[in-house]
């Protein structure tokens, strides 16, 4: 089972930490496409990703993960669809300090519905220390509305161990999903 390669996508709103998360764990210098952010009224960040981030990490199992980060803004939704092709799982990052983070999640659950609906996803909620509301229960309720069952965890994407934990959780989901698919095929 060792030596497999998987494509994972990091999605979420602008400023949720996709670029930071990939940089925290990538074994190679991450490829970035961030440019000057002119829309400071929407977000105070100096730069923003306009195409994708890319990094790689090898798990203890020997599996190699190719990590793709999406631009956050909906005007780049064409990139979401491009990057979602062939992805085996999605890490959806949420910035809990945003005005309506639950609403943010809707767009990404819709865009990555195919992957998310087969439970090959994990939702990471950031900045919960300073912005504890909405709580995880609210996100689980939202997932219920969508009829999906995915892990939802608090995460600090600046911490490598947090991001790796997120990926371990996601991989448990993926393994379970693949086993379910195999059992379905054999039935």
């Amino acid at each position: 089972m060792a030596g497999r390669e998987f494509k994972l996508v990091f999605a979420g709103s602008m400023g949720a930490g996709k670029t930071t998360a990939i940089a925290a764990i990538s074994e190679i210098p991450p490829i970035r496409t961030d440019v000057h952010n002119t829309d400071v009224r929407s977000h105070s960040k100096a730069t923003t990703t306009t195409a994708m981030d890319y990094g790689e990490v090898t798990l203890d199992s020997g599996d190699k993960l190719r990590l793709y980060g999406t631009p956050g803004q909906t005007r780049f939704d064409f990139m979401w669809r491009i990057l979602a092709k062939g992805a085996i799982g999605v890490v959806l990052l949420v910035d809990n300090s945003r005005p309506d983070p639950l609403s943010d999640v809707h767009a990404y659950l819709d865009a990555f519905r195919e992957t998310v609906s087969s439970s090959r996803a994990v939702i990471g909620i950031g900045r919960t220390e300073t912005h504890p509301e909405p709580g995880l229960d609210a996100y689980y309720a939202l997932a219920d509305e969508y009829g999906i069952s995915v892990p939802i965890v608090s995460v600090d994407v600046r911490r490598r161990e947090d991001v790796l934990l997120l990926l371990n959780v996601l991989f448990s989901q993926i393994e379970a999903s693949l086993e379910t698919e195999e059992q379905g095929a054999m039935a």
Binding site: T33, T38, D39, V40, R41, T48, T50, A51, R75
Partner: protein
């Protein structure tokens, strides 16, 4: 495009609009043109339906950023002009340098366009804009709509 309320922005957006109108009128086969910010906002657009200026602005931003990343990763410096040679025409993308940043000029052509002449006209448009757009440019002001 949405009306730009700020006078300085209006002047910059008008300048871009006039420049791309002149570009389109200067060469047969140019079907549309767009000036946008590096992060994907249209400053001025003249495109034919069903092409959307806002959508083209976002896509050109991604494309230019990717070409920059590939160029730097490939050790050939920063990306400059991009030509997309498609089955029913061409798309030309080029930087419009500004103090501390840049805008992007996109030109759409049908097969009747002569690539060299379009490139020459687009470069003149770029120089015209670079010389006349006020620093720090329209990037921030464009959001004061």
């Amino acid at each position: 495009m949405t009306t730009v309320s700020d006078e300085a922005t209006q002047t910059s957006a008008d300048l871009c609009q006039a420049c791309i109108a002149a570009l389109i009128g200067s060469q047969a086969g140019i079907t549309g043109a767009l000036v946008s910010t590096v992060d994907g906002f249209a400053v001025a657009a003249q495109v034919r339906p069903p092409v959307s200026g806002d959508r083209l602005a976002a896509m050109t931003s991604s494309l230019v950023a990717l070409v920059d990343a590939v160029s730097q990763d490939g050790g050939i410096g920063e990306g400059r002009d991009i030509v997309v040679d498609a089955t029913a025409g061409r798309l030309l993308l080029m930087d419009v340098p500004q103090a501390g940043s840049k805008l992007i000029l996109a030109v759409l052509c049908d097969p009747s366009a002569t690539p060299g002449q379009v490139l020459w006209a687009a470069r003149r448009c770029r120089e015209h804009l670079s010389d006349r757009l006020p620093a720090p440019g329209v990037q921030e002001l464009v959001h004061e709509r």
